[in-house]
């Protein structure tokens, strides 16, 4: 009697969680079926892609839309939302689902003391540092990072190939870059502490804009802080100085997504795009928009079709 009671109780008690597990199983199966398997989220409802307020980021947003569209996922793009201070909260609040970001700067946004500078370390650190609900997917080959450039003539004249070579010219060269370069590690402070490099003078100009590039071209500055995807570097044959001690953090393009929308289809589509998109290609696309005044969405559509991400 006692035993039967116990058994009955066991059965009764067991049946409830089993039922619950069943219903849970059914809903999650549904989600998986639509989303295409593991990964936690579902892209079935489509994704809203947001972008920051500069050309390259908009281009990347449209490239994401093309890549996802090619994989049969519905998207809409909300370009030009603003700076990181605006787009990250928009992502956290679910106003947007997906955002093209940059490894190093994104990590510093959440952890301003993060010491990592190399791509793999940064990716791991991002996985830890991103707030709950956000996830960094596979990063692209393309990278838009700070580079310190000299003209071909300066490089040849002083034998400059890397930051270490700058030491030979200590106190003789003029460095040009945005005002923040004066006091930050990715700038004069890091060059001095890590490489022992000092300059004759620092000129506060703009960030890879017309002023610093004009000054480099005219020889008013010898070393300029530019961005690696700036098409003018290649157009002018400027030399990017190597950074053997990894002072400057890697800034590979990385998709940041709300976990609820991240399924295998999305991961694969964006990883495929990331594999095909190199720094050189991204610089070329930037040029098409900035210099040749093409529409970023059309540039992205053409590129995606050319690289087999969508059907022509």
């Amino acid at each position: 009697m006692n035993r039967r009671k116990l058994l009955g109780g066991l059965l009764a008690g067991a049946s409830v969680p089993t039922l619950a597990a069943c219903s849970g199983g059914i809903t999650s199966l549904k989600g998986d079926g639509a989303g295409g398997g593991q990964g936690g989220g579902s892209s079935a409802g489509g994704l809203v892609i947001g972008t920051a307020n500069f050309t390259e980021n908009q281009l990347l947003g449209y490239l994401y839309a093309e890549a996802l569209g090619g994989a049969g996922i519905k998207t809409s793009v909300r370009p030009n939302l603003g700076s990181r201070e605006i787009v990250i909260p928009a992502l956290q609040q679910g106003d947007i689902d997906l955002l093209p970001e940059y490894q190093g700067n994104l990590l510093l946004h959440f952890d301003d003391k993060a010491p990592q500078t190399q791509a793999g370390d940064l990716q791991n650190a991002l996985t830890v540092a991103l707030p709950n609900g956000l996830e960094a997917l596979s990063y692209a080959a393309a990278e838009d990072k700070d580079v310190f450039c000299v003209t071909r003539e300066t490089a040849d004249k002083h034998g400059l190939r890397s930051f270490s070579d700058l030491k030979k010219q200590n106190g003789k060269l003029v460095f040009g870059g945005p005002a923040e370069d004066k006091n930050r590690v990715v700038g004069l402070v890091g060059l001095k502490n890590r490489y022992g490099v000092t300059f004759k003078e620092f000129k506060a100009l703009d960030a890879s804009g017309p002023l610093v590039k004009g000054a480099l071209k005219k020889g008013d500055v010898d070393v300029a802080n530019l961005f690696s995807t700036d098409p003018d570097i290649e157009a002018n044959g400027w030399v990017i100085l190597a950074d053997p001690k990894a002072l400057i953090p890697a800034q590979h393009i990385v998709p940041v997504i709300r976990g609820a929308k991240a399924d295998t289809k999305v991961r694969k589509a964006l990883a495929k795009l990331g594999g095909a998109l190199t720094t050189h290609e991204l610089a070329r696309l930037n040029k098409l928009v900035d210099k040749e005044k093409k529409d970023p969405d059309e540039v992205a559509a053409d590129w995606a079709a050319d690289h087999g991400l969508t059907k022509k």
Binding site: G176, P178, A179, E180, K182, K203, A204, P210, G214, D220
Partner: protein
């Protein structure tokens, strides 16, 4: 907010902040130097033009419209344009500040000259005064209050805009605004902005006082004619 204002107060009053090559005293002097030279050059260009078109009544349409065009020029755009042509020098700063000040002085000088009663001008000529005597002994003194107003306006605008020197790597109070923005140092940005505003207002009040003192025996010029 309170904390920000407290920090701003510290920033503005600390002795360390005022001394040294990056100190407020140096930046203030640089700022005044840029502003004074730009206003002076602008006055040397604009006063003769304004007096000439006011005296002859010719070319007013062209000059006033050119001035309007000059006022509409975006200063930062002009700085960048001149920078790309001239390279890293003070030229972009002075060209754009002068371009900013000239229209104000020209239009005010012309307005002052145009407001001179034609009967007074005729009477002067009727007494046998030569053109330069009419200009310098009759028209100019009568137009002077409005000319002074133009110079005062130009001076205020130039002081408020001389911050752009920092945009092309030079000094002045704009250094705090640009560096502060770059370093996300809000106190420094606000400190720079407050100093520029106070300087512009102080200069305007001082020039207004000079103006009042100089013309205290004179009724306000009527522009009803």
């Amino acid at each position: 907010m309170i904390e920000l204002l407290t920090n701003l107060g510290h920033w503005l009053t600390s002795g360390a902040q005022w001394s040294g090559p990056d100190g407020i005293a140096t930046r203030l002097l640089e700022h005044l130097q840029y502003s004074a030279l730009a206003t002076l050059v602008a006055a040397l260009i604009a006063l003769p033009v304004g007096l000439l078109i006011g005296h002859t009544g010719r070319g007013a349409f062209l000059a006033i419209n050119l001035s309007g065009f000059g006022r509409a020029l975006p200063t930062v755009g002009l700085v960048t344009l001149v920078f790309l042509a001239s390279g890293l020098s003070m030229w972009p700063v002075y060209v754009s500040l002068v371009a900013l000040a000239v229209p104000v002085i020209v239009t005010n000088t012309y307005a002052g000259m145009a407001a001179v009663d034609p009967e007074v001008r005729d009477a002067a000529r009727g007494q046998g005064m030569r053109w330069h005597q009419v200009l310098f002994q009759v028209e100019l003194p009568l137009a002077l209050p409005l000319i002074m107003t133009g110079l005062r306006l130009a001076c205020t605008q130039v002081v408020a805009t001389a911050t752009i020197a920092a945009y092309v790597s030079f000094g002045g109070l704009g250094r705090y605004v640009f560096d502060g923005l770059a370093q996300r140092d809000l106190v420094q940005v606000l400190g720079g902005a407050v100093l520029v505003a106070v300087l512009a207002i102080a200069l305007d009040l001082a020039l207004a006082a000079v103006q009042r003192l100089a013309f205290r025996n004179r009724p306000a010029p009527s522009q009803a004619h």
